[in-house]
């Protein structure tokens, strides 16, 4: 009995084993053994982020040769290296990517109806795009959280997804599932080179800023005591926060929604605070850069545009070299803008931060004279950025404008920066209403010159920064608004005075258009020195080929080199322009923005051969983001930046006029920020400061 049962089982087992053994031989499917080995390297998450239906399909594709060794988006560099070792291939650098949520609205958004239904964002989006009035914001039902295979997402208390960047593997499932596009996959390159889109969550300040700095985020980071994070946020789009924080006229503050309630947030003061914090600490916050890609780019001009472009190119992995005509990198920021507005040591620190990333420089090399486009091409540069600025001051265009004692503003300021001559009793007449004119006036006035400025506009229409005009008036410069010079008088070969006339607008109320001379008005003023500072224009004589023909077309409107406004590409495909050489006289932050725009175009040009037009580019302020009424709870006075006392300004030339603010003051100012989204905002911003005397609740909500 026992024997037979053992026997039967033994025989059955033997038969089955034999059949299976034979079958495995006969039915063997030849499979490349590398497929199994490659698959063993893959994480086995079967997330499909690579574009193949699962890890085994991806492994098969790698062995096939259709997919590279770095196919897996989930695995790290080691995964790729192991696969490459099996395949005998080389690992290419793969930029890390991560999911990011652009919506900050959450429960602040206005509702257009009350949704009760299937708990899925995609279902809700079918009804009028969701219950929130904002069409691009997060719907908040957490579909992304449900689809995430790596548990990298959770919903915050405000109902927007928060990404755990350590867990996120950038498989893209969340972005695919999100019906509004509030969650996206981004990389260092895409963040650095992103141009504002109309479907981004843009507060008014972020739309107005030419550099498109994420103002909302960095101010919140200051509020949360994360200064390092704030600096990195600024440096995503502005490599020169120390400088911009000092001389930017801050268009962002003018459009700040808080102006409806009290005054705009002191955005650029906060930017300077963060940048100063880094400089005062003496330690540079490390900036992530991609490893070198081997693409060499030549940048002509070491001003803000050139520096900005070099910075962005280096961070996304290319190898820029700056060619600078002068001995120092920094352009007009170093040596032209006076020390009391922008100290040299500040510029040098900022420039050094950029050069430390691995940007090469060649100083004392002038474009056209020492180096030409041909030379650069021969040297292996794949693209060239022309960023030589607008340094030429046009002559006054009146009688005797070439007499002794007539100088242009740039050479005046340059000499002043070097020597700082005593000008006691010298009668100086400055012609112009730009920042340059005001700089000349203030510098001369500080050295006890008697300064008169002939401004061809009324005060609020001047192109100079409002604060700077105030400083010039404070120090005793005589600003004569709505005047223009008629002729210069010469005695013994040197200038002795200026006759000028009054100007008037066609419509004095609006003060629009160009003011015209009023006939019959004529006045005379004595002068030992006349400084022309009416404008700065592009010197096109630099851009000629061997035969003396111009290299580029001239833009009729700006007087600069003409180029595609989005890509900054000129008629020569691998030559780009940016900054004042393209836009004509402009503000620093525009130069920084152009540098970034050019970096984007050059990046695509050298990696893909063509520059794509960005989608849904935001070029104008989005009308629905300009609110008429707001319900803000508290009013908090705007920070007053302390100024160096007037007497000291006369003695010292080195002290900055505008001083720093303290940490506590900065945080209180940051709390004024309403953290605006496209349409939403924090109504109770600043609630944590209600104990302070100067913080008061607003009785009547809304505005007048």
């Amino acid at each position: 009995m026992v024997a037979s049962s053992i026997l039967v089982l033994f025989l059955l087992g033997l038969t089955a084993a034999a059949i299976l053994a034979v079958a495995s031989r006969l039915l063997h499917v030849a499979e490349d053994p590398r497929v199994a080995r490659v698959e063993a390297c893959l994480p086995g998450a079967n997330c499909g982020g690579c574009g193949y239906p699962g890890c085994s399909a991806a492994a098969a594709a790698v062995v096939d040769g259709t997919a590279p060794a770095e196919v897996c988006i989930v695995g790290n560099i080691e995964t790729s290296q192991r696969i490459a070792a099996i395949m005998g291939a080389e690992v290419h650098f793969k930029e890390p990517r991560v999911a990011t949520n652009i919506c900050s609205g959450g429960d602040r958004a206005n509702l257009i109806f009350d949704y009760k239904g299937v708990e899925d964002c995609r279902a809700e989006a079918l009804l009028y795009g969701g219950e929130k009035s904002c069409g691009i914001g997060c719907i908040g039902l957490g579909t992304c959280v449900k689809v995430c295979p790596f548990n990298a997402l959770r919903l915050s208390e405000a109902g927007v997804p928060v990404v755990d960047w350590n867990a996120c593997r950038s498989c893209g499932k969340c972005a695919e599932a999100c019906p509004t596009g509030a969650i996206r996959i981004s990389s260092v390159t895409s963040v650095l080179l992103h141009l504002n889109q109309t479907d981004d969550c843009l507060a008014p300040c972020m739309q107005k800023c030419p550099a498109q700095i994420n103002v909302r985020r960095y101010i919140q980071q200051i509020k949360q005591k994360d200064l390092r994070g704030a600096l990195l946020t600024i440096k995503e789009h502005n490599p020169l926060p120390l400088i911009a924080g000092r001389i930017c006229p801050a268009p962002c503050e003018n459009i700040c929604r808080r102006k409806i309630v009290d005054e705009g947030v002191a955005i650029h003061t906060l930017q300077r605070f963060v940048a100063d914090w880094e400089m005062q600490s003496g330690i540079r916050v490390p900036l992530y850069c991609n490893p070198p890609s081997g693409h060499k780019v030549a940048i002509i001009g070491g001003g803000p545009t050139g520096l900005s472009c070099a910075y962005f190119l280096r961070r996304v992995g290319h190898e820029p070299t700056i060619f600078e005509r002068r001995e120092h990198i920094g352009g007009m920021m170093r040596g032209v803008i006076p020390e009391y507005r922008l100290p040299k040591k500040v510029v040098d620190w900022e420039v050094q931060t950029i050069l430390n990333l691995g940007v090469e420089t060649r100083t004392g090399v002038a474009f056209g004279r020492d180096v030409t486009l041909k030379d650069l091409e021969r040297e292996g540069f794949e693209a060239v950025l022309i960023a030589t600025g607008a340094w030429k001051v046009p002559p006054l265009g009146i009688e005797n404008d070439d007499a002794e004692g007539v100088v242009d503003a740039i050479s005046f300021l340059e000499r002043f920066g070097r020597e700082g001559p005593d000008m006691s009793g010298v009668r100086v007449v400055v012609v112009g209403g730009s920042n340059t004119a005001i700089d000349v006036a203030r510098s001369a006035r500080r050295q006890n010159a008697l300064v008169t400025v002939l401004v061809p506009a009324i005060q609020r229409k001047m192109t100079a920064n409002k604060d700077e005009v105030e400083r010039a008036l404070e120090i005793g410069a005589d600003l004569r608004f709505l005047t223009a010079p008629l002729a210069l008088h010469v005695e013994n070969g040197a200038v002795s005075g200026v006759t000028y006339c009054d100007l008037a607008y066609d419509d004095p109320g609006k003060a629009a258009g160009e003011p015209k001379p009023v006939s019959g008005t004529k006045a005379f003023i004595e002068a030992d020195l006349v400084v022309a500072a009416s404008d700065r224009v592009v010197d096109h004589s630099l851009f000629t080929d061997a035969d003396g023909n111009p290299l580029f077309k001239r833009d009729k409107k700006t007087g600069g080199v003409s180029a595609n406004p989005t890509t900054l590409q000129t008629d020569i495909p691998n030559v780009f322009v940016g900054g004042e050489v393209h836009t004509g006289r402009n503000i620093l932050i525009q130069a920084v923005a152009d540098g970034r725009r050019a970096a984007r175009a050059i990046h695509f040009h050298v990696t893909r051969g063509a520059v794509p037009e960005p989608d849904n580019q935001q070029v104008q302020v989005i009308p629905e983001t300009i609110l008429k009424n707001m319900h803000v709870t508290y009013t908090i006075p705007r920070v007053q930046v302390p100024l160096t006392p007037l007497e000291e300004r006369r003695i010292s030339f080195k002290e900055e006029v505008a001083c720093s603010i303290s940490y506590d003051v900065a945080r209180k100012e940051a709390s004024r920020c309403l953290r605006c989204g496209l349409t939403c905002y924090d109504a109770d911003a600043g609630a944590e400061y209600t104990q302070d005397d100067d913080v008061r609740p607003i009785d009547r909500p809304g505005s007048e």
Partner: protein, 191 residues
């Protein structure tokens, strides 16, 4: 008529999962999405048919004649396991598309109690060979139907506001219980 009654009874009245509570493991495990459920159901039907086709002769020509019926369980396990392995090898070589769609589930079913249960039930019922095959086909269909129903319900549950404590397996178990109650309503309609 007898065959029709057997067929209906095996699918609904004596549903293998919801009435006889066999195969609850894949019933919970592979019922998160309808696609997976259909694949699993098809694989179960296939393996059940094969298992009965092989174990029936074995019982009748080996176990019973030699008086070793008490070895039924162990012999069936051995045979079904080997069979599934063989089928997988066979499909991979001969019908790769079928292997691609069922391949993932075949190893899961090797030791599935529903398959084993059917093999033993046809012996207890002393069905003739053809009737045994029909019974296994019907039972497999019953499994497929139950699996598809619960997976569709669970897909809906995933996007419904379920209290946090019930999310996932708990609410699925409750659903399975309710479905089981519903199937009890078929009781008494036929033998």
């Amino acid at each position: 008529m007898e065959y029709l009654m057997l067929f209906i009874s095996a699918i609904f009245i004596n549903n293998i999962v919801l009435v006889q509570y066999l195969g609850t493991c894949p019933f919970m495990g592979t019922s998160k999405s309808t696609d997976v459920a259909i694949g699993m159901g098809a694989a179960v039907i296939f393996v059940m048919l094969m298992a009965v086709a092989f174990t029936w002769p074995l019982q009748h020509y080996v176990l019973t004649p030699y008086g070793i019926g008490y070895l039924q369980t162990i012999v069936f396990i051995l045979v079904i396991a080997s069979l599934v392995q063989f089928v997988e090898l066979f499909l991979k070589k001969v019908i790769p598309p079928l292997h691609a769609s069922l391949g993932l589930f075949l190893p899961l079913i090797t030791t599935n109690c529903a398959v084993m249960g059917v093999a033993i039930m046809v012996q207890r019922g002393e069905y003739p060979f053809f009737k045994a095959l029909l019974f296994s086909l019907a039972t497999g269909l019953g499994f497929l139907i139950a699996l598809v129903i619960i997976s569709s319900i669970r897909e809906r549950l995933d996007i419904s506001p379920v209290p946090a404590v019930f999310r996932g397996i708990p609410v699925a178990l409750i659903t399975a219980g309710v479905m089981s109650l519903v199937f009890l309503a078929f009781q008494g309609m036929a033998a």
